[in-house]
Subunit: 161 residues, 2 copies
């Protein structure tokens, strides 16, 4: 199995119409709200999801073309290995963000702390479960001294050509 | 954009040769170790990754065929909406696990707390960054009273036909 075909199950709507100015991660979006428009054939799969405060979205970075194996990440000024960054240009341009789930109305999910471009194709929704997804005793390598900088940095030119 | 083609960038090796007995999530694998064999053309992208204690893997659940929108999750005995569960049979069978990174030797990553089947195709590696990935003030819906049960539950028949 060398190639796998995935399908769009919905679309993410956000106020971010172009890469310039789009937040680099959900924590930087300062509470920006958006919506997920799930394809109507999947709506039965949303049952019970409203009990979760946070959901993890897997989506296709549709404007991300090509990649380089070493990149200068948004919080740094030296080249890092691509897999040690969250840069959007990757061998598989798949994005991952945990957002706050505000409410669900039929096939529309209202979400908060979005960091995706408007029109981003959705691949999956998973409930955020701290027991599985939250870890302690963490080392974060080159990022460890950058968190102060990240507080002030919202967007960068990573999507730009 | 309705269909997207992703490519295998490596393969995950674990002791779990068949679905029966494979842990349901990394926290349940009790420290089981595995390896990632990254395709050699991507090895430059691993630079700096060894500074991170945890990495998040996105992978293709290659034995997961088909899906139903309501499923009985491993921790429960009533049907829940698919997107409110981590069940492997999904519209896009994409798995998500954060594992501990022990060490890297060339294109081989030694990892701990694996919950994938041996031979699972790898799609992406991202560094685990608590600032982005760890959340507090969480509600976990139907799962909230089940954590005691999950401590005792390792595998289930979710992959079984």
């Amino acid at each position: 199995m060398k190639e796998m075909i995935l399908k769009q199950i919905g679309i993410i709507h956000t106020p971010f119409k172009e890469p310039k100015g789009t937040p680099i991660q959900p924590g930087k979006s300062n509470g920006t709200e958006g919506t997920i428009e799930l394809n109507s054939e999947y709506v039965d799969g949303l049952k019970d999801l409203d009990g979760f405060s946070h959901i993890t979205l897997i989506y296709y970075l549709h404007l991300s073309k090509g990649f380089e194996l070493k990149v200068v990440p948004f919080l740094d000024n030296v080249k890092r290995g691509l897999f040690a960054t969250r840069a959007p240009k990757r061998p598989n341009p798949v994005g991952l963000s945990t957002v706050e789930l505000l409410r669900i109305e039929n096939n529309i999910l209202h979400i908060k702390n979005v960091d995706m471009l408007d029109g981003t194709p959705l691949l999956d929704i998973k409930p955020y479960v701290p027991e599985f997804d939250s870890h302690t005793q963490i080392r974060t390598g080159w990022l460890k001294d950058k968190s102060g900088k990240s507080e002030k940095t919202k967007a960068d030119g990573r999507f730009d050509d």
